[in-house]
Symmetry: C2
Subunit: 271 residues, 2 copies
């Protein structure tokens, strides 16, 4: 999916988080948010009925590397003031996915028709933030250079269960020369709110990955002979875990179309 012509041109001029989000709210921008509002935190979205919310929040707390919780809304509240004064989570994401009992039933640009008084919103940190930091440090990211989705893999690393939520950790993989891998570990260590340091490096077989050329999500990338695969905990983990529970209602962002916040990535760096 791509931005519509005029909106696309306008999007490139949207520098601030609020500015970009308001443009999305006004409509006409249903595409991926990658590259919009550089420097601002983008988030994965999960909206669940209240009866699952506590367990899901506990799951995030227990599995902070794949599920770094940026903010949780009050039950029934479509605002998220911790991430932006005026966020309306029903309208401010370019595109949504609505699941009923685990099946996709709609992919709307607005979820006002689905809103209920028992829904709880979760915003979870996303790799866009740390990828920006890596690129700023001169580290090439293969999937971005190729214009494809980062390759992601289910692993043999278990998450810690909370209520009905359990399942394997999903990781994203970025191939790097060893010196860049070391630098990338240093850079992402500073960003624990957006997945933080890698969970694994080298040897995919040790975490249950059989073939790097066949990712479970996203697209494969070539790995050069002088590179190691570096694995980060991935925000697809909570999505996969929620999907397995097949809740009566669940709403997420459409892949790649994230919530843009007013918070800057640098606010989430620990040093």
């Amino acid at each position: 999916m791509s931005l519509a012509g005029d909106a696309s041109t306008a999007a490139r001029d949207l520098r601030g988080g609020e500015e970009a989000r308001l443009a999305i709210r006004r409509g006409g921008m249903s595409g991926p948010t990658s590259g919009l509002a550089p420097g601002y935190v983008q988030g994965n979205l999960a909206i669940l009925p209240r009866d699952l919310a506590t367990d899901f929040m506990r799951f995030c707390h227990l599995n902070a590397k794949p599920c770094p919780l940026l903010a949780a809304g009050a039950p029934g509240d479509w605002r998220l003031p911790a991430l932006g004064a005026d966020i309306d989570i029903r309208t401010d994401v370019p595109r949504y996915r609505v699941f009923r009992y685990g099946e996709i039933v709609d992919e709307p640009a607005d979820i006002r028709a689905y809103w209920r008084e028992d829904l709880v919103t979760f915003a979870i940190g996303c790799s866009h933030s740390f990828e920006e930091a890596l690129i700023d440090n001169g580290i090439e990211l293969r999937h971005i250079a190729r214009g494809t989705a980062v390759p992601m893999f289910r692993t043999s690393i278990p998450t810690i269960a909370a209520g009905p939520f359990h399942g394997p950790m999903v990781v994203s993989m970025r191939p790097m020369k060893p010196a860049n891998a070391i630098r990338a570990i240093q850079i992402t260590t500073r960003l624990p709110a957006v997945h933080g340091a890698p969970v694994h490096i080298g040897r995919p077989d040790l975490i249950g990955i059989g073939d790097l050329a066949r990712p479970d999500y996203g697209d494969p990338v070539p790995i050069h002979d002088d590179e190691l695969p570096v694995f980060w905990a991935c925000g697809v983990t909570p999505q996969a875990v929620v999907a397995a529970v097949r809740p009566e209602l669940c709403i997420t962002h459409y892949p790649g179309s994230m919530l843009i916040t007013d918070r800057r990535n640098c606010e989430f760096a620990i040093l």
Copy 2:
């Protein structure tokens, strides 16, 4: 070499840097300093005539990862106040090596007979400091568990030349599980004054190491199937570089018998 009976027993009770150093000065302790004065910085020693000193200091500055300079003495001065108020570099190291034109001519416990008004002392950070931090974080170090010297390798990574000083970087290797390797990168990043983060991980062939079972210095260690080799820049680099220059006079510590300082390792951590 081992500590003599009584001295060895006494050594275990030497907790402070100054206390341990004064005991060494009094004599009877000519063995390795590993495990003495835990928490205190130990240093590699290089003493050179003044006509080589500036180039050697420039070499350290240009190659800070293998040659992290802790302190340099004034020409002819056997004190080193930056590292300890009362250091006498002629007596305070358990054992020395004296080189003439690159050949070992003596291994004394005291170098007062060799001291000259043109000698310049260099103390260079040592891996004992970061190994202590790794062990404190629960990371097993194979060579320590086996009671052997860490395996070290000449690499294809060049140093940056300064005057006559040039040559390959020497690295030390510690095998670790990938998650521990990531943690070790984080821990040693905090300690740039004592070699800092690794320079390489995995794939020894990429830095010119043909066989991990045949180190150029130290002893080999087994690498388990679920481990990666992790490589740190090593303080043997300046020793090898100086040896290649074959200076008229050069004095170093005897391997493993380091200078114990009054400074604590934590003083050299950046965060």
